[in-house]
Amino acid sequence: MIERRTFRAMGTEMELLVDADGAAEALDSAFDGAEAEFHRLEALLSRFREDSELSRLNRDGAIDAGPDLLRVVALALDARERTRGRFDPTVHDALVAAGYDRSFEDIAPESHVRCQAPDVSAGGVSIEGTRIVLEPGVRLDLGGIGKGYAAERAAELLALAGPCLVNAGGDVATRGGAWPVGVETTGDPLTLELRGAALATSGRDRRRWRRGGRELHHLIDPRTGAPAETDLLRVTVVAPDAVEAEVAAKALFLAGAGAARAEADEAGIPAVLVTERETALAGGLA
């Protein structure tokens, strides 16, 4: 019997599914624990909350961080290294310059103000023990990777009630069981069955707005400091965990359809690549 709970957190819709056969009390407790974990991590990692640990880091340039912020920043820096800069947490100012300077629900869909991409280069971030230090002018955005991290942490708590799936607005983490997950395509509906795997989708079909007559979206290309220009509409990637899936989806999205397909095939990363005209399966998916 699949039990479900939905709620809003981190600026998106969260969905918790549990294949439960235990006591209702234990299930409620697991749902409450997982939901609370999302709110707890949002309070730490949101760049839109003045009092979050991330906002304090961005404001002060250096802080003694708690274990969650330390872990997410370390994961983000590792991802920047592995993707050779295609994933970069230091695009904060580029996102703000593009108009994504507040929670997405509060962004005006259209404005005549023109946006200027800032000069970008991989900003210096260092971790010394529990201290995170940013170079002057560097600020972090941990939106996507933070959601993947939160999905994994919530799944750990939810798994106490049974096999489960956590869908954090597109970042999906699972524990146990087999979970059919629908993927939006340009053609026929596609369903992927996940077993002990995670999945994430990145794209420019949502979180869009217009500035000065230009269509903008939230996926910044760190090489240009502007919203990425790519023939891909969205990319869905399957990986061992949601953080890995989120990073790979973003990196493949920036690569463009042709390069993304070759890269996914070569690295064996199961991926669904969606353009305006077609949907391609790569990395061993068939």
Binding site: R175, G176, G177, A178, V181, T191, R195, T201, S202, T236
Partner: protein, 115 residues
């Protein structure tokens, strides 16, 4: 002559004993601790500290017992969670030997969209 000298010695010894007794009585060491107000305060303070120490020890003992009981319960929870997690991992590894994903025609339980 000898009797005269003996009397003198006896008189001198009597005077020494008399003055010694006087000095001892004048010093009245048995009443000093009671009559000095500072010593009284110190004694009262010591008694108060002893009472407080007994109270603190009792509180610490109670909290220690509560902590040990909570620790025991938490350790039991952790053991149960680990057992459940390893059971889930065992189920996953048995049922998903080939990388964990395949395309199916089942209706989806959830949908992934751009995050």
């Amino acid at each position: 002559m000898a009797s005269h000298t003996g009397r003198l010695y006896t008189l001198a010894l009597g005077l020494v004993v008399f003055f010694l007794a006087w000095a001892v009585v004048a010093a009245h060491p048995w009443g000093a601790t009671v009559s000095d107000p500072r010593l009284k305060q110190l004694a009262a303070r010591e008694a108060q500290l002893r009472r407080q120490a007994r109270l603190v020890n009792r509180i610490v003992a109670l909290r220690w017992a509560a902590y040990r009981s909570a620790l025991k319960a938490r350790q039991a929870q952790i053991v149960a969670a680990k057992a459940q997690a390893s059971q889930l991992a065992a189920v996953s590894s048995v049922s998903a030997p080939s990388g964990g994903v395949r395309v199916v025609t089942l209706p989806p339980l959830t949908i992934t969209r751009t995050s």
